[in-house]
Amino acid sequence: MLLKDIRDYQILFLGLFLILGIGTRDWTLRPELIAVAIATCLTTQCILSLVQVRKQEVEDAPNLLSPIPSTLNLRSALITALGLSLLLRADHWTTMAFAAASAIASKFFLRVNQKHFFNPANFGIIVALVFTSDAWVSPGQWGEDWWYGLLFAGAGGMILQRVGRWDTTAAFLGAYSLLEAMRNLWLGWTWDVYLHRLMSGSLLLFALFMVTDPRSIPNARMGRVIWAVGIAIVTFLLRNYFFIPTAVFWALFMFAPLSILFDVICAAPRFDWLEAVRSKGVGV
């Protein structure tokens, strides 16, 4: 049973990063906030799923084909919780709870054609940054040790290969590193500056685990690639010309609703990798 679902791997890796973070990097990671994030995500998921099931039952009473286990989708909620714990910092637990609750709620309320267009963790992060006064993201805290980079790349690559969304990561990282290379060349910095900018653990974490969520990104490959390149461009602009340290999250947030548009333009069967598995999305 265990590790049968691809998302189990993802949960495993994200959990591993958290343990590494607490164990080897003396971060501001606080175990009680991680607990709050997990508890809130799971509870919100349960409540909203049950409400949804009820509603469904009322609407089409004879249709009893929605057994509770499949709609609960606790894995996805756990992934969101881990993602929030990894990326979001808060001074008070209520902020984390708020971020977690809105992250999960966004899956239920912000959807078009059975597809939620915001990455839940990303939505939670942005909402917390905007609506609370004590949330922040620490982009520097993952450091730039190659070992971590490798770990991210290895773990992420493994998941992506199975999920079949490596194209998004490749498009995002490719476009972003190209833009940074051009800027570096133009400015005349030495190349160690360039490498240092790209060797950010947070960037890799984002590229491998957040921008690849099949539930909230365009379905067609062409759509995904253009979409990811768009995010890379906006990230680049926000980071270098508006000096926003959390540029990637804003860029993804801005592009999330556009994935609907891309789906319309490049209509394609969604979830081709999931036909057999019949389960729901993977996402940080």
């Binding site: 990097r25 003396d26 501001t28 910092r89 808060a90 001074d91 006064s133 004590d134 949330a135 922040w136 620490s138 982009p139 520097g140 805290q141 993952w142 450091g143 730039e144 040790d145 133009w186 400015l187 005349g188 910095w189 030495t190 160690d192 500056v193 490498l195 240092h196 900018r197 950010s200 508006f242 000096f243 340290p245």
Partner: protein, 457 residues
Amino acid sequence: MRHFRFIIPLLSVFLSVLCFAPTALAFCGFYVAKADTKLYNKASQVVIARDGDRTVLTMANDYQGEVKDFAMVVPVPTVIQKEQVRVADPKVIERLDAFSAPRLVEYFDENPCVPYARRGDVFLAVPSAPVNEAQSARRDRSLGVTVEARFNVGEYDIVVLSAKESGGLETWLNRNGYKIPRGARQLLKPYIRSSMKFFVAKINLDKFEKSGYEFLRPLQISYQSPKFMLPIRLGMINATTEQDLIVYVLSPKGQAEITNYRTVKVPSNVNIPIFVKQEFGDFYKSTFETAYTKEGKRVAFLEYAWDMSNCDPCAAEPLTPDELKQAGVFWLDGNSPSDTSISPGFRRPFPTSNVFISRLHVRYTRDKFPEDLMFQDTSNRESFQGRYILQHPFTGEVKCQAGKEYRRSLPKRFEQEAQTLAKLTNWNIQDIRRKMQLSVGNLTISWWETFFSWLGM
């Protein structure tokens, strides 16, 4: 002769002045000593007071040549006009340093037989001082260099330049009497390309002499820009060794951190042997060095993070509203009830809590810190201080049973302290043990007592 010093790791401290560390009977032990920036020969100090995109940057100078040779070039995000520059009181930086320095505190064990006995202890720290100097100016045009502003402030002659290409800027600086270090040209280019301006300061010798100042005073500039960064690359041109940079970030929000390097807390809150009291400076230097090496020499250290309205224990009294304004805090007016009501019952009115200080200590070299430092202020209001604890054992005579147990527990505790110290500083544990014997010799624990306690009896 080095005519030219690139900053920001600019200049640094020269300052001196005697400073008496105040005694503070605090909840966290008795404050004894602090490890301030005077420990380091070359430590630039920068104060950044920032709210939103408004910044007041104070740069203290550690320039050690002749004053007439002094010159500095700082890339700044915007054109700086005369009214945006002033000379700050060096004392303010010293106050910030004293307030936020890593500290040593001591506790005294009570008589295990008679509870409630207390004593205090006082210490004073005496700093020392280096000197500074500078030169005069001429001018030129063309070369793609525009003089955006030219003025003097206090003893400084200041020119603000913008340039179209680095060759022109280099030539301009050369023609105007600045000796540019080799390699500067390549390093100037990225700043020119990102349309930064150059803030160039020299000393006006006449004014300097007239003013009667012995040292170069810190320059303080105010500007508005979303860029929250410190250019360290230029300062590494002619540096052969590691450089220390202490950044005090004052923010109405909370802790500041670096976004493109890891920010790590210095080791803190540990019990160490009592003899360290005599060599706290060396102790902290070694501790920092060990932590720095352990982290791969590529992190910034957080040495202090605290709301500026209080401290516990206090290495120095909190800054007054006036001193905070001197340090560049511009958002105090209006929000601060501190000036108004001073109830006579209290010793002294503290400024209100909308100033949060973060003291970041960056030791950098060219290979580990390729990129300029980028900062952000977070909403993290968690307090942190580099704090090291001396726990004095009770030395009086004990007769009761509890007293004997207490005595027996001591050797284990001392050993623990020795190991902590060895781990923190990388000092030789045998030396530490030997020194500890000296400092606890008056405890007169008989050899069999020690032996029994080792056996756990």
